[in-house]
């Protein structure tokens, strides 16, 4: 018998990250491999192109309407930074206030612990059905799978989440998890999976929404337990906030006897007043509306109105590891509006599934690797052309390109630490750095690049078939033949040095 060594728990900057084997933060393919397949899906490209261009236009219009957008954005950034700097104090205050108003606060170190807590709370009510409001945190920890493993039936009630659940699919967008499906595909899923659905159902979005209403109405009315996430939690008053559109959130937050809210610890804001900033930034950035149809807030339990049992689960699952990264901690400021996804040229083409995490797009490319430890998502920081469109639209001014660049270096440095022999890339970049920092070597190297003229055989471009990594370029683009003389050489020849 051989003793099995337990796999080393992953850490990031000395703090535990989101554990492996649970939840949806890690894909089973690298980004370039996953994207390669997605890029061949013409329907996906058309769906994403249509949806993201629609929302980009709407967002731009309502953002331009506010004369003080820049000031709101800066206040949002500063509020988040100030909150993170005293996160422990704010969490303790939140706990005190929620408890004082009849709520019960639970703390979860990671996905497994949060799933156990929620499962136990649901089981204690004696019901076997759970209705859910769309929540990124519960997607992240794989709560549905955990509840189902315990024999419970879970009903997603957000339209897009319902489409994903009925289609046995995965979410591909933070706000609109079914953005990769068009109306015809959604009609097909509903016609196939909703019992008793109108056989004449068309692909008119209104009819599809009505089919979802009919399907879920009964479940809302009989639900005894609901699980939600939270957009904000106000420490000074213990007020929780859910921002939504369809009313499914209100159904879940209002009708059941028991409400369980799972919230990442970074969602706390210090004061009620802070919502005056975020409730302006979020809807305009998110759905491109002046205000979303419904925002619900509640503090603990209100006699005679809504659930009489309220549990708040505060989730770490790698967030403290993100907080430990002085450059990357800004990613915790994210209010999950998904504006960065909607403007990202990489997301628009590769689609959300290519990121392998419930957090896709630019924010996902920084958040996922920090939550899991960079090496578990090492291809994501490179899944960006660093065009900066994400930073421009971020309502709390997260400098995503700078964090991407920072995480690329964290990955390169981790590989250098962990491997006995450097990678070919590291050898090349180190060599090039040496050359570029010594003008004499640099001029020799430039001359050597002229060897390219030999393989060009007098043609203006180099041959298409070149070895890797150059082949990554030449598969789709010509490479010019190097000139006879560099500019500096010719200048020095003409003017002296």
């Amino acid at each position: 018998m051989t003793a099995t060594v337990p796999p080393k728990a992953p850490t990031f900057l000395g703090l535990p990250t989101a554990p492996r084997g649970v939840g949806h933060l890690r894909g089973d393919q690298s980004f370039p491999d996953a994207a390669r397949g997605a890029l061949r899906d013409g329907q996906l490209r058309a769906n994403l192109g249509h949806a993201t261009s629609t929302i980009r236009g709407k967002r731009a219009k309502v953002v331009d309407e506010l004369p003080d957008w820049a000031q709101l954005r800066e206040a949002g950034r500063a509020l988040k930074a100030a909150t993170m700097a005293r996160l422990d104090d704010h969490l303790e205050e939140l706990e005190r206030q929620v408890t004082a108003r009849g709520g019960v606060v639970h703390w979860a170190r990671d996905a497994n612990e949060a799933n156990e807590i929620v499962t136990r709370l649901v089981q204690a009510t004696g019901t076997s059905e759970v209705v859910k409001v769309k929540s990124m945190a519960t997607q992240e920890i794989g709560l549905n799978e955990a509840l189902e493993a315990a024999g419970l039936d879970v009903f997603e009630t957000d339209l897009a989440e319902l489409i994903v659940q009925l289609g046995e699919d995965k979410p591909s967008h933070i706000l609109v998890p079914a953005i990769h499906k068009n109306r015809a595909e959604i009609r097909e899923i509903f016609a196939r999976t909703i019992p008793g659905v109108d056989p004449d159902l068309t692909d008119d979005p209104r009819q599809l929404a009505m089919a979802a209403r009919t399907h879920l109405r009964e479940r809302f009315l009989r639900a005894r337990v609901a699980v939600s996430g939270a957009n904000f939690a106000v420490a000074e008053t213990g007020t929780l906030t859910v921002v939504e559109s369809e009313g499914n959130g209100r159904m879940c937050l209002t009708l059941p006897e028991t409400l369980i809210t799972v919230m990442g610890i970074e969602k706390v804001v210090p004061t009620w007043r802070d919502l005056e900033v975020f409730l302006q930034l979020l809807p305009r950035s998110s759905t491109g509306e002046r205000m979303n149809p419904y925002t619900s807030t509640w503090a603990g339990v209100t006699p005679g109105d809504g659930p009489q049992e309220f549990h708040l689960v505060l989730l770490d699952n790698g967030r403290t590891a993100v907080l430990a990264d002085e450059v990357g901690r800004e990613a915790l400021h994210c209010i999950r509006c998904s504006a960065c996804l909607n403007v990202c040229p990489v997301y628009e083409r590769a689609g959300g599934h290519s990121y392998g995490s419930v957090y896709p797009g630019p924010i996902g490319a920084v958040l996922s690797p920090m939550l899991t430890g960079v090496e578990d998502n090492a291809s994501l920081p490179f899944a960006s052309s660093l065009c900066g469109a994400c930073y421009d639209v971020c309502p709390v001014a997260i400098d995503i390109p700078s964090i991407l660049v920072h995480l690329r270096a964290e990955h390169v440095e981790a590989v250098a630490r962990d491997r006995e022999r450097p990678t070919a890339e590291a050898v090349a970049f180190r060599g090039l750095a040496k050359v570029m920092s010594h003008p004499r070597l640099w001029h020799l190297a430039q001359r050597a690049s002229r060897l390219g003229r030999l393989i060009a055989r007098g043609k203006p471009t180099l041959p298409n078939a070149l070895p890797p990594p150059v082949s990554g370029w030449t598969r789709s683009r010509d490479l010019p033949t190097p000139p006879r003389e560099t500019f500096v050489e010719s200048w020095v020849r003409e003017h002296g040095s």
Binding site: L15, M251, Y294
Partner: protein, 210 residues
């Protein structure tokens, strides 16, 4: 160590020993709209913004709220409605209520789904975003009242209409269960195209008095 202690100690470890005061938050965005609550221009703006969400606004003099609520119900339910179709918030002003209508009481909330329409007051309305806020007070009713009937009629008085979001939030009590309503329920989940009417009331009618 308990999970609580451990998470808090991780936060402290992550932040490090340097506990210099966090940066000052500058609130140089618009704190007020500049126009007083109830300003005629704000009422116009509210109407414009609420109608932009495909909701209907009926304006009336303060003395005519009762008749206008009935007119709103005519629009929402068709003229054949009866008092039994409508449930109102327990604290709604007597002269705003349709005669003989049902008043919400301690019945199980889900029973409100049997009613075709509900009528409530609001706590505050924000003109710039077309938002009505219900605060669970007797005049606004419990949250289920404005959720389950398919047609919602909200009565707003001019003095409740403020310009901006900061002014609106400043008038609210964060300890109450609040519902901010901006138009009928809607979804953008299919091709990011907005469609009005999903799980919440599919019809929203606003009676603006003053």
């Amino acid at each position: 160590m308990s999970a609580r202690e451990e998470v808090l100690s991780r936060v402290r470890q992550a932040l490090g020993a340097d506990r210099t005061p966090p940066e000052e938050v500058v609130r140089d965005y618009r704190l007020t709209d500049g126009r007083p609550a109830g300003d005629p221009a704000l009422l116009e703006l509210l109407v414009d913004r609420v109608e932009d969400y495909q909701a209907t606004v009926l304006r009336c003099a303060p003395a005519d709220v009762g008749a206008t609520v009935r007119a709103a119900l005519d629009q929402g339910l068709g003229s054949g409605w009866t008092a039994g179709d409508v449930v109102v918030a327990p604290g709604l002003a007597e002269d705003w209520r349709p005669a003989g209508c049902d008043v919400d009481d301690d019945r199980p909330a889900v029973q409100l789904a049997d009613r075709a329409a509900s009528v409530t007051a609001v706590a505050v309305a924000v003109a710039e975003t077309g938002t009505l806020v219900l605060d669970g007070s007797p005049a606004c009713g419990r949250r289920a009242l404005s959720l389950l009937p398919d047609c919602l009629v909200c009565v707003v008085t001019a003095d409740q209409v403020v310009g901006s979001v900061p002014e609106g939030l400043g008038r609210l009590d964060p300890l109450r269960p609040l519902t901010m309503v901006s138009g009928p329920s809607a979804t953008s989940d299919i091709e990011l195209q907005r469609v009005e009417g999903v799980h919440g009331p599919r019809t929203l009618l606003v009676v603006l008095a003053g």
